[in-house]
Amino acid sequence: MTLPIEKQAGAGPATGQTLLLVATRKGAWLYYGDQERRTWQTDGPHFLGHIVNHLQLDRRDGRTLLAAAKTGHLGPTIFRSTDFGRHWQEAARPPAFAPATDGGFGRSVDHTFWLTAGHADQPGVWFAGTSPQGLFRSEDSGLSWAPYSGLNDDAQYRKWMGSVQDGTPDGPKLHSIIVDPRDAAHMYLAMSGGGVHESADGGLSFTPLLEGLQVVEGFEPNDPTFHDPHCLRLCPSRPDRLYQQNHCGIYRLDKPDDRWQRIGHSLPAAIGDIGFPIVVHPRDADTVWVFPMDGSSVWPRTSPDGKPAVYTTHDGGATWHRLAAGLPGEQAWWTVKRQAMTADSHDPVGLYFGTTSGELWQSRDEGRNWQCLAAHLPEIYAVEAAELD
C-alpha cells in the first residue's frame, strides 16, 4: 500500500543534516535540522491517525525507514520507505505468531513495539519486538518477517513472559533488542515483564541476565517473571558495558561480569532512580542521561513534583547532575517514554526527547540547555536521531 504524504516545501534529506524520527500515537513526523541544529524543517504527518510505536532509519544504507504501525481498528503492520517517506510500502508478511498447533488459544500480534536494524555485516536483516511479547526477524529489509520459535514458543519463556495482565498497561513489550557491533551472533533483549536475556547464537536461544537486579518487594528475584527492565542500552564506545533503566532503579553491567550494579542510588532521594528511557554517550562510556519520573505510591508516571529534569552522570553512575535549564520550572506533568529519548553523534552531542504531552525538546550542548523544538504533537512514543551523509 502507498500512502500519500503531505510534504512541507523545502523539507527533505540533504548532506550534513540531522534527522529526527518522531513516532506518536497519531502518526509520525520527520524533522530535518541544519548543520548547526538550530533550524528545523517539518515533514509530516505521515500515517495521520495511525498508532506508530517506532520509526527507525537503517544506518547501514542511510535511506531505508521502517515504521511499526497499526490503527484503532486494524491489525498491525510494518511500512517501509527508501526515499525518506515520499512513498511507503507495506510489508507483505508483517510480524505474526505461528498458528496454534496444540488446540490452545494462539497468540496474535497486537502491535510491533520495537525495531532494530541488524549487524553491519548482515544488510537487510532487521529485528522486531512485539506485544504480546515475541521476537521476529526480517532478512529483506522489513518486507517479510518470521517468528523466532525458539523464544516465542519456548514453554519456559512463555511462562516468564506471562499474560497480558503481567505487562505494562497497554500490553507487555519485548524491547531493547541489541546486536553487539563486534559480533552479529551476540544479542540482548528485554521483556516487560520477563527480564533481560542474552544470546550467543543470533537469537536462536537466550539465557537470563538478571543477577544483581532488584524486583518489587515480596517477589522472587531469581524468577525472570518478576523483572521489569524499562530500557537497555549498549555503549558503542565500550560494547562490554550496558546500562539499564529498570522498574527498580538504574543499573550498569560490565561484561564479562554478569552482575548488574545499581548506580541510581546516588540520585537525590526526592527524585529517585525510576524512569523509562536511558541514553548513552556515543563516545564516552561513562556518560549517560536519564529522565526520572514519579514512581511513588500509585506510579503517577509524571515528572517528580511537576518539575521535569534530565539527570546525567560522567563517571559511570557514581555521581549525577541535574540538567533542567530551559525546561519548565513548575506545573509540567508530562514524562518521557522508553523509546522517546535519544542522542545524535555530534560534538557536542545533541539530545532529544519527546513527551507524553506532545512536545519535542532539544539540547545542542549535551543537556546543559534545552529548547522546545515542536509542541502540540500527539503523545510521543519514540524519537530517533541520525546524521545524514
Binding site: M1, L3, T71, G72, H73, L74, G75, T77, E90, A91, A92, P94, A96, F97, A98, P99, A100, F105, G106, R107, S108, V109
Partner: protein, 85 residues
C-alpha cells in the same frame, strides 16, 4: 458480490465498493486479499480470528465466523466498530 469497504481500508481498495467472489466469508476475504494484498491481515489475525474492532454483515445479520456461508448474499458490509479516542 459487492463488498462495502470502510474508510480505514480504502488505502488498499481506493473505492468504497468493490467486487469479490466466494461462497463463504473466508473465501470472499481470500479473494479480496488476492485483489488487494495485505488487506486480510488488517481484519483477520494470524490465528484466523476476526480482529476485535472489525465486523462483517450480510442482509443486516452479523457474521461471526469465517466459515459462514454467503451463497444467497449480494452484499457484504465491512464495518469498523467504534473504538479508542
Amino acid at each position: 458480490m459487492k463488498v462495502l469497504i470502510p474508510s480505514a481500508l480504502r488505502s488498499y481498495t481506493t473505492d468504497s465498493r468493490v467486487d469479490a467472489t466466494g461462497e463463504t466469508l473466508a473465501a470472499v476475504l481470500a479473494d479480496l486479499e488476492r485483489r488487494y494484498p495485505g488487506i486480510r491481515f488488517r481484519m483477520i489475525d494470524e490465528q484466523g480470528r476476526i480482529r476485535p474492532h472489525i465486523r462483517f454483515f450480510v442482509d443486516g445479520t452479523q457474521l461471526r465466523s469465517l466459515g459462514q456461508p454467503l451463497r444467497a448474499a449480494t452484499e457484504l458490509l465491512i464495518v469498523q466498530a467504534l473504538s479508542g479516542g
